[in-house]
């Protein structure tokens, strides 16, 4: 399958993350071996200037066949709907016009990263650049291509949301497409591949014992659970970050900082400081999404009173103060 990659208003971080895919021969060889041919990528291809532009032109005119269009970065419609905030250099045309022309030619259209899927951090604040995603504008369906857009395969835009994406979310999606093994039923309601979006960041959280006892961190670098005070949304955020490690061994919570639910539309404007948990009467407002609230509060109260001293002490330290003793020893 032939892959065309465009970079819209993004940071390039999804490409950087993709390059870190853990494979014995590197990600290019991995994709090539899986039948994916990289026709053009602005950060990686040899071509430059006219060579690149004529390739894009041919693809847009239907003279050059390609299968997959990956777009990385938010689509800037501003100012005043003109798209002038992002001209594809050398072409004199707004990037949004190029994306619209190429999307209708593609068998599959992939939004790489939350910016491309939903608007992302570029849409934060007053969204002066009128940033949106390919088929969503935040939570609202629509976006640049419109609610009804279907690529030639009959699939809507595939949203590999994440800020940035995990390399293997993209690799697994591309390889599944190459195998013909990704259909509409494999996407969730926000059009994300279910293989990673039907997990919660909470699954496999290394702070599970602290969570069970609501033994909470109070400041950065504390070992305790990050949910009660530090703004962690791991119990609500859809992604497999703690069962699919980042950079071989990591994840946000493994790094000691909260999940900010970067795979979700609107994560960029949480309505509270990112590293503080909003509370009403001392109770966090964002509780696990599919658990009855009253039960959560009751269980939390109960588990807090049952917290072992070891867990309580260690929660507010950056290294274990009290060690786990063998049963029966004092």
């Amino acid at each position: 399958m032939k892959l065309l990659w465009l970079q819209a208003s993004g940071c390039g971080g999804c490409t950087q993350s993709l390059l870190g895919a853990e494979n014995r021969s590197g990600v290019f060889a991995q994709l090539a071996d899986s039948g994916i041919e990289l026709l053009s990528h602005p950060g990686l291809s040899e071509s430059c200037g006219d060579e690149s532009l004529s390739l894009l032109q041919a693809a847009a005119d239907g003279l050059l066949d390609f299968d997959i269009l990956c777009v990385e970065g938010a689509l800037l419609r501003g100012p005043n709907g003109s798209g002038r905030f992002h001209i594809l250099s050398g072409s004199g045309l707004p990037m949004i016009a190029w994306v619209q022309r190429l999307a209708v030619r593609a068998r599959y259209v992939i939004a790489v990263g939350t910016c491309t899927a939903y608007g992302g951090v570029n849409a934060a604040g007053d969204n002066v650049t009128e940033a949106c995603g390919l088929q969503f504008d935040g939570n609202e369906r629509g976006g640049l291509l419109g609610e009804d857009f279907l690529s030639a395969s009959g699939l809507p835009v595939i949203n590999i949301a994440g800020c940035p994406i995990h390399a293997e979310w993209v690799v697994d999606t591309l390889c599944s497409l190459a195998l013909g093994a990704l259909g509409e039923n494999d996407l969730d309601a926000l059009q994300r591949p279910r293989f990673y979006a039907e997990q919660l960041v909470h699954h496999g959280c290394p702070k599970n014992e602290f969570y069970e006892f609501k033994a909470s961190a109070q400041k950065p670098s504390d070992l305790g659970c990050l949910m009660e005070n530090m703004g962690c949304k791991g119990t609500q955020a859809h992604a497999d970050c703690n069962t699919r490690p980042w950079n071989g061994v990591g994840s946000c919570v493994r790094g000691g900082f909260p999940c900010i639910s970067c795979t979700e539309p609107g994560f960029e404007e949480p309505g509270h400081p990112f590293m503080e948990t909003p509370k009403i009467a001392g109770i966090p407002t964002g509780l696990p999404s599919d658990m009855p609230k009253a039960w959560f509060v009751a269980l939390a109260a109960l588990s807090k009173s049952a917290t072992p001293k070891r867990v309580r002490d260690n929660a507010v330290s950056d290294h274990p103060l009290t060690v786990l003793k063998k049963p029966g020893k004092k």
Binding site: S25, L44, E46, G49, S89, R254, F274
Partner: protein
Amino acid sequence: MRRLTVGPFNRVEGDLEVTLDIADGRVASARVNASLYRGFEQILLGKHPLDALVIVPRICGICSVSQSATAAAALADASGLTMPPNGRLAQNLILACENVADHLTHFYLFFMPDFAREAYRGCAWHAAAESRFKATVGDSLKEMLPARADFLRVMGYLAGKWPHSLALQPGGTTRAVTPTEIVRLLGVLREFRRFLETTLFGDALENVTALADPAALAAWADGRPSDFARFLQIADDLGLAGMGRATDLFVSHGAYGAGDDHLFARGVWDGSVEAFDHLKVSEDVAHAWLLDAAPLHPLQGETRPLSGEFSDKAAAYSWCKAPRYGGRVVETGALARQVVAGHLLLRSLVAADGGNVKARVVARLLEIALIVPAMESWVRALMPGQSFCNQWQLPDSATGVGLVEAARGALGHWLRIERGKIASYQIIAPTTWNFSPRDAAGTPGALEQALVGLPVGESESAPLAVQHVVRSFDPCMVCTVH
């Protein structure tokens, strides 16, 4: 006189267009256009100051940690906070990991593929360059990409992930390491060192950093089967040392350290080292698609994009502001950093030819060889059981300045907090310095000057000499147009 517009300019980070006026087969003048506006300085207004740690790394996915470190430094400055030794060491390691990974990415993915081009077939070195460095398929990528991914485990251990970590805080880092993790980090660095010594350099890192002058470098490289030596052979054959001279006024914010104590010193090189004074920095918008204002220091600066008729400001041709130091055009990056820091080889390369394509690439690779041993010593100096992070207190009103070195050079954040919120946030990124447009006096930016005089072949639509010079700066356009 003919005019040539080169774009989309691939294998640079972000969107770049270069317009060249050509006379007698040479570039007579150049204009550099950053063609994307992203609006981050506006997004940050009114936010909780610590939210900057979420937002600014997302300016750039390749300088992500550099942006975090600079925001953390500005926030620490605003409240007078210092870091415990572990926090400083961990931040150094995280930043060093990004900078070294970026240098490696630049060399193998962005810069070297140009020498595999068809236009160079016939050169003695072309066949080797093609098999080794051809974009996306060269053999070197099968070694370099796995080595890079393994090296980024440093991020997995210390920063959770890369890019876009929240581990860097004003008071240190969020992730204390255990004694076993120190053992594993040393293992990661040992394996990475082996890749560098086998593949990139073909010699011990310490032997590379000891090279002190061009003659020693040439003798060392002669016949050596390594990627660095392959580059040097190509550079000398194509005369890359004679290409791409800018102003030879070099600025470095100082790298890896705190205050006045850095592994690579802070300063300005103007034939000799002078102290860097951030109060001499100003930004000019005369040729940017921004509402007119006098040149301002970044603490007074503002960012107001044009939104109506762009033709009202006919002189504008970029979203990039024009930063100046004491009114002058400067160059920043690994070469500037090593010249200011006093590395003998880079000073002698610059003494011979001024800033140039070859020296910029040599500086990056030499820096890899300098930083990895420093990383080994920082890992050994970590003290498990002692604090990694001091707690930050929100000041009601304050100003803060963060000055850090990203891989690409001097990165500065200037912020003002009023009533507990961000009231102003101004960023000057390395490529804002290097790829600035003209200022009100009409003085071209560093790249614009470096391109003048380059040869352009009759049939060339994207002149190779221009491409080499542009990429020698390792531009990051997404940072530029934050």
